[in-house]
Subunit: 339 residues, 2 copies
Amino acid sequence: MRNVNRQWRLARRPSGNAVPQDFEYVEANYTMAPPGDGEIVVNNRAFLCAPTIRNWMDPPGNCLYPSINLGEVIMGPASGVVVASGHPSFCRGDRVATISTWQDYSTIRPEESMTRVLPDGHDFIEAVGVFGLNSLTGYFGIREIGAIQPGDQVLVSGAAGSAGSVAAQVARLGGCRVVGIAGGTEKCRWLRQDCGLDAVIDYKSEDVRARISELFPDGINVFFDNVGGDILQAAVDNMAEFGRIVLCGQIASYNDEIAPEGPRNMMRLIYGGIRMQGFLVGHFADQFDAALRHLTEWERSGQLAHREDVRSGFASIPSIFNSLFDGSNAGTLIVDIDD
Amino acid sequence: MRNVNRQWRLARRPSGNAVPQDFEYVEANYTMAPPGDGEIVVNNRAFLCAPTIRNWMDPPGNCLYPSINLGEVIMGPASGVVVASGHPSFCRGDRVATISTWQDYSTIRPEESMTRVLPDGHDFIEAVGVFGLNSLTGYFGIREIGAIQPGDQVLVSGAAGSAGSVAAQVARLGGCRVVGIAGGTEKCRWLRQDCGLDAVIDYKSEDVRARISELFPDGINVFFDNVGGDILQAAVDNMAEFGRIVLCGQIASYNDEIAPEGPRNMMRLIYGGIRMQGFLVGHFADQFDAALRHLTEWERSGQLAHREDVRSGFASIPSIFNSLFDGSNAGTLIVDIDD
C-alpha cells in the first residue's frame, strides 16, 4: 500500500469548460483510519470520466444534481479494491465499482454510492468501461425509458459515445432500425461497420435536420438524446405518434452558464401523445446484476462493440476529463491510475 | 326537420385570435341525402367550444393536428340526434356526442369521430359539458398520464377551465393535495369553495413562481398543464423527483404565429427522472364508458362541481368561441342551437 494519498480537489467553480485553475492537486502522507460503521475504504484503480461530473462542479442550483463543495475532492465513478471494510457486505480485497472520489483512497458509504462487487472476469478498466455506468445508462435508458419494441425506428444522438453506442446496439439487438448521430468520418464508420447501425448522420458535415426527415419518413419512435439543443429540437419535430424521447444528457449545454432553451413545439408532444422523460442510471441500481449479465454475454460473444480510450496518470485527470467536451476522445474515456 | 342547413365555414386562416372575417356564414336549402355505408347524419343541438379548434384552423404544419381546409365547415365537438344512419351501431333517433361540424346537419363517420350514444339521463348540454370531451380530457389526463397516487402534491393550471377543474377534482377525489392556478377572485373562490381545492394561485394578482415554491416546499409530483409558457417553466423548476408533467394544452400560445419556447432546464428532467407527456382524449376512446360512469356518479352525488356557460344562437358561434381566449367564459363554453 502506498503511504501517500494524492487528490484532485475543486478549487474554483468552472465558468464554461473546466480549466486547470479550477482544480487543486494535493498530496499528503496517508495513514488509513479504520472506516466507520457501514463504510468502506477503496483504493481507486481506474476513473470513468463521465460528463455529469462537470454538472456536479456547478454551485447548488435547481437541477436536482449534487454540487461538490469548494475544497472537496471531485466525485466520480471508479473501480478499485476494498482495503478496509466496516460494512457487512464488503470484505478487504473485494474488487468493486462505485461512485468514488478523485484520490488514491476514498472512504465510501456503499448504500449511497451504487457500490457493487465486480463479477469474476471483469477487470478494473472494463468495470468502468464496457460494463460501467455509461454502458448501463445506455442499456436502461433505451429499454426502460425508451421502451423499445421490435420494429421501432430509433434515433440516437452522441451515438459514438459510451452511453449512446450501447443504447444504439441494445436497440439493434432488440430488433429496431437504428440511426446514430456522431461527429466525424471515423466515428460514423465505426458505428456503421462495428456497431451495425442502419444509418449514421455526421453532424460535422451534414444537415442534421434534413437528414433526420429523410431517414425517418414515418417519424421517430424512440429518440435517445445525449446532446440537447438543436438536435433535440429537430427530433421533436420528427417524432411519430406515441414516440418516446429519452433524456439521457444535454452535453451541448453542460458548460453553459444559463439553462438553454428546451425544445419548442410542446403542441407536437400533445397531439402526438409523445413522452419525454429523463432518468439517471442510479434509478435502476436494483437491476444492475441482470443488465450486466446481458451486457457481458453480448460483449463476450462479439455482438456488442465497445471502445475504451484509456489514458494513464493520476496527475492528468483534469486535462483528460476535458477531452470529453471537445469530442477528442475515442470511446469511453478512462483514467488508469494503476501506476 | 328544418329544411335549411346553416353553416360556419373557414374563410381565411386566422392570424392570432380568430376574427369575424375568418369565418363565412352560409345558409342553404337542405334536402337530406341518404348517408353512405358506415356514415350517419346528425342534427347538431349543442356545440362545445374547445380551444383545440383554434389549432385546427392553422395551415397544415408539423404539430400532428388536423388542419381544416379553407372553405370547409369548421369541425368541433357536438351533441345531437341521428336523423339517418348507414351504420349498424346507430339508429335514427339516437342521441349522440361526436366530433361534428358547425352546421345543422353533419354527415359523420363514427369510427373517426369518437361518436357515442348518450346514456339515459344525460341531456344535450351535459353531453358536451360536464360529461363532454373537456371533462374526459381532465379525467384521463390526471389519472392515466399523471398517474396520480394518494398523497401526491398536484398543481393544475387553467384550473377553472373545464378540463382543469375536472382534473383538479379527480385528483382531490383520489386523495391528492391539489393547488389550482386561475385568473381572478371569482374563479379562485369557486375552486376553493365549490371544487374543494386545497389552495389557489390567482395569476392576475399573484407572483405565480413565488407562490408555487411557497406552496410546494417538497416539490410537485404531478403538474397538469393547460397553459404552457412561463407557468410550465415555473412548474418544471419546482418538480419533485419522479414527477409527471401532463401536457394537456398550451392555451398561452394557440394564437401565436410561431411555436413558443418550451421549458428550459431539461437537466432537471434528467436528474429528477421527470416525465413530460402529451395526450389527446381520443387516445382513451375505448375507456370512455367507464370514465363516464365515474363522472356521472360523482356529479350526481354532488362531489364534482361543474359550471357550464351556455349561450344561444347559431349565428354567434364564432364570437362565442372567441370568449375562450380572453378568459371571459365562466365554465365550459357551450353554444345551444336548439332554437
